[in-house]
């Protein structure tokens, strides 16, 4: 099975999406004969090449981080380039991976509905959408993501054998779907502590920008 992967992260090879994909693809290629090709959508000048890749693909995975509750603009540009292929006979099967910074999966559910509709608009068989919340730290603190990486690996392995996303694994990866009220209250409390702000504040200090962290440059 040959899989074409479109990585829609504006950070490209420097992003978290790439890390999750790596684990998925490691699982995918455990089956002999399975191969993949990666295209980075942040290389916006390659747009024509992306269309051609999609046109010739039998299996596509489109992965991206959530930007303002939807796909990043460069992913939308790619989707718009697919318009001439709508309803074409030989469109590939398509699956999606969406990850975001907030801990809960619910933030991604709205774009998930869009993606499902997109598959039907194109006339592609919809494999599903893999959702991972709390993904921002994968790059910086990979040790904390062991469990998630394992699930991505297993998802890739099963996909490589069956062409399907395992529903139970997808469900597990998406946890927590939402905060329960007690957890939300705890989260609220923790956010007030220095611990949670620390990462941002450390980076601000390193850049000599800490004192300006609350600036309102556009305040008229």
């Amino acid at each position: 099975m040959k899989l074409i992967v479109f990585n829609g992260s504006p950070r490209g090879k420097g992003g978290n999406t790439k890390i999750f994909l790596e684990h998925f693809l490691n699982g995918f290629t455990t089956k002999e004969g399975n191969i993949h090709e990666l295209a980075y959508l942040n290389r916006v000048k390659d747009q024509d090449g992306f269309l051609k890749l999609f046109q010739e693909a039998e299996n596509v995975l489109l992965a991206f981080p959530l930007y303002c509750d939807a796909m990043p603009a460069m992913v939308k540009t790619f989707i718009e380039s697919l318009e001439p292929l709508c309803g074409r006979k030989d469109n590939p099967d398509i699956g999606f991976v969406v990850q975001n910074g907030f801990p809960e999966a619910i933030h991604n559910r709205y774009v998930e509905r869009y993606l499902k509709k997109l598959a039907s608009r194109l006339g592609c068989r919809y494999v599903g959408t893999i959702i991972k919340g709390g993904g921002e730290g994968a790059r910086m603190m990979p040790a904390r993501y062991k469990k998630a990486f394992n699930i991505f690996y297993r998802l890739g392995q099963i996909y490589g054998e069956t062409g399907q996303f395992d529903a139970e694994l997808v469900r597990r990866l998406a946890k927590p779907e939402k905060f329960s009220k007690p957890v939300a209250l705890l989260f609220k409390f923790l956010l007030k502590t220095r611990l949670f702000k620390f990462g941002w504040d450390r980076m601000l200090r390193e850049n000599g920008a800490f004192e300006r962290r609350l600036d309102k440059p556009y305040f008229a």
């Binding site: 992260s9 504006p10 950070r11 992003g15 942040n42 916006v44 981080p65 930007y67 303002c68 509750d69 939807a70 796909m71 990043p72 603009a73 460069m74 939308k76 540009t77 989707i79 718009e80 697919l82 318009e83 709508c86 907030f102 801990p103 809960e104 619910i106 933030h107 709205y110 774009v111 509905r113 869009y114 509709k117 997109l118 608009r121 939402k178 905060f179 009220k181 939300a184 209250l185 989260f187 609220k188 956010l191 949670f196 702000k197 941002w200 980076m203 601000l204 390193e206 850049n207 920008a209 300006r212 962290r213 609350l214 600036d215 309102k216 440059p217 556009y218 305040f219 008229a220």
Partner: protein
């Protein structure tokens, strides 16, 4: 008092025109009529023609949060005007033809670049994680959409729901979705009733 129900409240409105196609004159004409009518209701209207502006993609560098707080550190492009108009408005209309079931990539480009208007820190809002406000006040938002050939009710619902979610992140309320097949007066009435 005008015939459109304006009770004299003068509102600053910004329209983000996300029509990428200069040949789609109908869409732009709708906005010209809309802004004229809004101005005649005594509102201040700014229409930003995004396709004529230099608007680059957000590259997710976080510079606006950790290097130059509140300002994009990657590109000093036209989005400075977008952010300035946006945050100093009472109401922002996101206007776009529906392309492949969503608002245009052009509009999304500008939208992604609004992120400097928030702080990196998180808070629990409506029992969910969201970013903390950088400014004291954010504009209300609404949607104006032009149906495409293959647009159906579900598409409009999906787009509206995504913008409704976006409103939570941008510390505001989502007011309405209108279509360019609706009379301009209806959009004005919606804005007047805010």
């Amino acid at each position: 008092m005008t015939t459109h129900g304006n009770r004299g409240k003068r509102v600053k409105i910004t329209v983000l025109n996300g029509n990428p196609d200069a040949d789609n004159v109908q869409f732009d004409d709708y906005l010209i009529n809309l802004s004229a009518l809004l101005e005649s209701s005594n509102h201040m209207v700014t229409v930003l023609q995004l396709r004529e502006m230099d608007i680059r993609y957000c590259i997710g560098c976080f510079g606006c949060w950790i290097k130059t707080p509140g300002e994009c550190s990657n590109a000093a492009d036209g989005t400075r005007d977008v952010r300035r108009e946006y945050i100093n408005s009472d109401f922002v209309l996101f206007a776009s033809p529906i392309i492949m079931g969503f608002t245009s990539a052009l509009l999304k480009k500008a939208h992604d670049r609004l992120i400097p208007l928030l702080l990196p820190y998180l808070e629990a809002d409506q029992w969910e994680a969201h970013h903390v406000a950088r400014y004291d006040k954010y504009p209300l938002i609404g949607l104006l959409l032009e149906k495409g050939k293959d647009t159906d009710e579900e598409d409009i619902e999906i787009i509206s729901d995504i913008y409704m979610r976006d409103a939570i992140n941008f510390k505001t309320s989502f007011c309405f979705t209108k279509l360019t097949t609706d009379p301009v007066e209806e959009v004005v009435n919606e804005i007047n009733s805010i």
